[in-house]
Symmetry: C2
Subunit: 352 residues, 2 copies
């Protein structure tokens, strides 16, 4: 694979997105050389929409489909923005890409690097290292965009949101989770809320039981989502691979990011497991409009996402070098305040 010059689409996006992507590409180049990738920048996001009125047109989407993978920074205006309607960019751009490119596995590793300040007490940390992966379903559930509003703005308004779950969609991510666990500590935890969401929860449970029967090497258990939020702060060491739906995965991975030292360190991969469309690599964090433009965003999550990208493109040795450089950088500097580019420069230099 290393001889093939891979073609990457780069979507820096909004807020701190462009700042962290710049560092991620710097590190990618340092790891693999200038010649390894063809980079094509796509100017999409809030500014692009304000200027052109387009979120993501069909032609651009078709263009993106031709790349080997996509590097994304962050998308979304400030929650209270009056210029950009709520959800326009999230649904029209970020989720549109995840859905159009059938990125079924949203892979989110959570690992506490030694020495990183965390909100957890030593009574929890003393239980052992924290190192788990969330396999979040990426193309169904409450993210399907099935919902509506009746009698909007009246005292009789009814607003609905429909979570859509299919055996097809659930099975592929559950299989991925068991396969992944087999390469790790061999434990899958399904997180759902099957005592209330009996239909969706029933489907998830049955699929897990079926796949588990084919994989006696991997143990599995179950937690309600409310109980899972407790375990993430009281005993995160119990987790190896979590498999869960789109919304629960969104919630749990932010909490997981917080307990492992902040989402400034949490990478993610949106994987089209069928290999028909490009997969997409992005930090878990959002566009953080409050700190954008000040050069203080931590690019580590975006940089670690490049390791996920390289593994996906069949370059595990280069991926490992980035992971190692990130670990070393964190170990050496966690308590020093550094700018976005200082962090990127340091990690790139370590690779160069």
């Amino acid at each position: 694979m290393t001889s093939h010059r891979a073609s990457l689409a780069v979507i820096p996006g909004d807020g701190i997105g462009p700042e962290v992507v710049e560092q991620a590409l710097k590190v990618l180049t340092a790891a693999c050389g200038e010649q390894a990738f063809d980079l094509t920048h796509y100017d999409l996001g809030a500014q692009h929409w304000l200027r052109t009125g387009e979120v993501l047109d069909d032609e651009t989407l078709a263009g993106l489909a031709r790349h080997d993978a996509i590097v994304l920074g962050a998308v979304g205006a400030a929650p209270g923005s009056s210029q950009v309607p709520s959800g326009l960019l999230e649904r029209g751009l970020l989720l549109k890409l995840r859905f159009s490119f059938d990125q079924d596995v949203n892979l989110r590793p959570a690992r506490l690097y030694p020495g990183v300040p965390t909100p957890l007490a030593s009574s929890v940390l003393d239980k052992g290292p924290i190192d788990f992966v969330v396999v979040r379903e990426g193309t169904e559930g409450l993210y399907a965009g099935n919902g509506g509003t009746l009698r909007k703005g009246t005292p009789n308004e009814v607003a609905t949101e429909v979570s859509v779950n299919t055996a097809f969609g659930v099975e592929r991510v559950v299989r991925y989770a068991f396969d992944l666990a087999a390469t790790r500590r061999k434990k899958v935890t399904l997180v759902h809320k099957h005592n209330v969401l009996v239909n969706a929860g029933g489907l998830w449970r049955r699929v897990v039981e079926e796949v588990a029967r084919e994989r006696p090497d991997v143990e599995h258990d179950y937690l309600h989502v409310d109980a899972a939020t407790i375990m993430l702060v009281s005993e995160p060491q119990r987790f190896d691979v979590i498999v869960t739906d789109n919304l629960f995965g969104d919630i749990l991975t932010d909490e997981a990011g917080a307990v492992t030292g902040g989402i400034g360190l949490a990478p993610s991969a949106n994987i089209n497991t069928a290999g028909e469309f490009p997969s997409m690599f992005e930090p878990v964090h959002g566009s953080a409009p409050d700190i954008a433009g000040r050069g203080i965003a931590d690019p580590t999550a975006a940089i670690s996402s490049m390791a996920l990208l390289l593994r996906h493109l069949g370059r595990p040795a280069d991926a490992q070098r980035i992971d190692d450089a990130v670990s070393a950088d964190i170990a050496a500097h966690r308590t020093t305040p550094r700018s976005t580019s200082q962090i990127g420069d340091a990690i790139a230099a370590a690779l160069g």
Copy 2:
């Protein structure tokens, strides 16, 4: 009000439910005397269902409706139980009561008592005392039981869950939250996910904006649910009153319980704000089948729920005495392992 002999329905329920309810009633009696309440026990839950095949019949429901309030322990079999179908008791009993008695406000205070062991580091605790209340909507959202399964058990299965939200249902809990905040630190935080759940999130946001205009004394802000799970561990002091939907409230209050020393301490009230039906008082924790029958469950949450009950029944002074006794008991004993009845006895003795 103290002259009226209030009539209480008592549903000990499953697992540790009966154990903690016994202590809660002991403390209630110590605080108000033997004569203050008529108690009627209702034998409902997993055992009752296994014996009779009935979860909650119409006659029992009508009987419960005639009481001034309901005291509930916990309901639900073990998640993996093969005897009791998933969700049967939760939906047929607990949620049936919340919905039948239109318990729109699910009130869940979260307070870190001084000296209680918490999973949070001192870097977080040093930011100040943690003391907030979650106003969880209790009669709508994904708990409405609107969903279904198509082609069950086949590779083409589709399972849906519908979140139903009404202006009527949202407005009353938002008003309650603003009224409550006005008596506290005067800040309401709406938690939702309006960038993805645009219909339901749009309704919640508009209602909050409208109510806020009538209450310039109370400030308000907004957090996406994923960001809220981060703030609960990194800066829980930022919260005064959180208002949110049924599922987000379920998730956030378990996490809130964990950061304030465990859900063994977290009380709740399910309030029918219209006053047409009995309100219900229960600990946030569940039936905890793993520790049931061993006399080791912490009854503090059930006991604190009695303070919420007394406030609801117009006995704020007695409520305060229970709160004070609980605080004092926690301060004196948090690191001593004690049995369920030792804790109940100690708090009752302090009141007697």
